[in-house]
Symmetry: C4
Subunit: 214 residues, 4 copies
């Protein structure tokens, strides 16, 4: 470690430009804003009667709720990773910016998906956005965990490997949704909806956390 | 407690993925953004003269102010609950996401209500959003307080029960507003306006806090 | 103090529902969002050539910059008040909600003002919004400082009185701008622009802070 | 130092109106919101088929991603400066407000640039916004570092000078982009894109941080 650039370790010295906590708080802000801005993509009816127009908006409202859960899931995953970091450097800051760029972009593919949830192009745009988010997430993990470069020293190889499996599952699922649209678009849409549901289930990742306590 | 999954206790160990404070800060961000986005639903006049157009917008401005107070009230209630938690787990994180989804959605029914505050469909949409928010809130409390699963150990049964009464009053009032629209829409609207007013009054909940101090 | 309701003193006890810090952080969020949302009121040209259209938007861009400084000034003033608080209660929380409601509303009168900065109705709407913000601010100070109800015990009467003068100057200036529009609208506009400029000047309030140090 | 106004040193005394941390948190909020609002400038297609319309939006999406990286870079630079401050005063608060005004404005020139990325007026508007941001940034540094007025006492002259070089490079690059548009607009656009890329490269500034550690 001593021979490696240590640009932003949290310290009282002038060398700590951006600390782990600061970048996490900034990222939290971006996640919170992106998740709340999704509602602006729903343009309310401007004429009466309301009922038929609101019924016609049900696909859009469904896309809104689904995107909300996807961003919520990404926020939880982001914390899971930052929680394991012990320090920060310029490379990680910019990989994180790439991830935030994808997350901030989510309102756009969400509205496109709300226009016609079965349009293969709309499903592909949403899936591609999440594949890219997953790619940046995995690049962050690869960079931070390689040789314990930025992660806490006491993390076990088993935990690091478990993170990898979970991290790869995410873009793999969205990549499958992307490919499905060339065959049966509705299957792509089903996968988009199932990923957050799958993330909500108890997993080996949680179980491990439990066992570490008992 | 020892035989139960403890996935996210705040601790220096790698097991604490999302702490109570972190989730509260994230939720605060979503509340602050949702409450501030409400103003975007007010489309200012784009032609002159201004006076008659601004007068015509009074119902919308009223709906804006009412929705602001409703979200403000929900924020205070959210803190009241989080304040009593001692730890966090995956189930609570996702129930909280459901609550935030409802809160983030508020700008939409607010604009619909501003279009015609006496339209029964508009009142129902707003009331239904708040009933769902109340449902998630109560699910959070039921889950966290059941067997003192996630709440502080020293909370008295009297306080827990008092929380229940207050929590049930909230969706009950909005449910009544919903039903009223089938009979007299204006009564539904009056109830929507009275709920935050009622929440502002001194209550047994506050009184108890006082007595605990003296 | 012992005979008075103490609903939300920051403490480890279940009685502290909303602490001073929490409400300040929430308010900061609302200020930061309101000040940043102002830009959304600027609708960029959608056709070419750009130059003449951008020139025509100069009044709007001016209104944007002025409103930005007004909200920035209000944020500084808000901190000046919260900084003097030692505890919080339900009344103060709701007076603060009233203030935040006015601040969140600022993007609306700003866009109206950008439509025609010399229209008396536009100037009155902006001035009225700030008079109401000032009223809530003064109500907060009156309530918190009365009998040292919520402010720090060691605040001198001289400081409390100095706060009053500054607090009254603010809505008085905006009230004057309001009245001026019935005579010469341009004077009202000039006052709107001068208030933040006046707030930027060194003042007895700052001087006192300095003398307290030396 | 003893003979100088010390209006807002972080301290338990009533004199600390706005602390360094508070202003940094507020600024972080504005940066996080401005960077996330950029996506609202992308108006999704409202009719089918999607593919040709999404292809036509590629310049806008590119402008969005470029502006995201520019604001991200400005955020990192802002932290680099605040990190070196030991106290705050009224002048710095208002210079920082000027910087935040420029940052909050970025979504506007971004959308103009997305309309036609090769239009010289669009490139000039974006470049001018960043030149002004750079001016406020440099004014902050000049004011804070002059006679070690607000910066940490132990900062070496070498570090202060290095900050100057980096700070001047930023508006100089954008000023060059501005001037280039009168000759070859495409070169101006290339410079806009290269500035964040240059900021991502390892630099003497980072190297110094490393050497300070070893």
């Amino acid at each position: 470690v001593s021979s490696e650039p240590v640009s932003t370790i949290p310290s009282p010295m002038p060398t700590a430009v951006v600390s782990v906590n600061r970048l996490e708080a900034f990222s939290d802000g971006v996640f919170a804003i992106a998740i709340t801005l999704l509602v602006l993509e729903l343009r309310p009816p401007t004429t009466l009667p309301l009922a038929p127009q609101l019924r016609a908006m049900i696909p859009q409202i469904g896309a809104y709720a689904a995107a909300f859960l996807v961003v919520g899931m990404a926020w939880i995953g982001h914390h899971g990773l930052f929680h394991l970091l012990r320090r920060m450097n310029k490379t990680l800051i910019w990989l994180n910016m790439g991830l935030l760029l994808c997350i901030s972009f989510v309102p756009f593919p969400t509205m496109v998906l709300g226009l016609d949830p079965l349009d293969p192009v709309a499903i592909r745009l949403f899936a591609l956005t999440m594949v890219m988010a997953g790619w940046f997430y995995n690049a962050m993990w690869a960079y931070a965990s390689g040789g314990h470069r930025l992660i806490k020293q006491d993390l076990s190889p088993a935990l690091i490997q478990l993170m990898w499996w979970r991290n790869i599952a995410f873009p793999l699922a969205y990549g499958t949704a992307f490919l499905m649209t060339f065959w049966k678009p509705v299957l792509g849409l089903v996968i988009l909806a199932l990923v957050p549901a799958g993330f909500m289930l108890p997993s080996r990742f949680d179980a491990r956390e439990y066992r570490a306590k008992s």
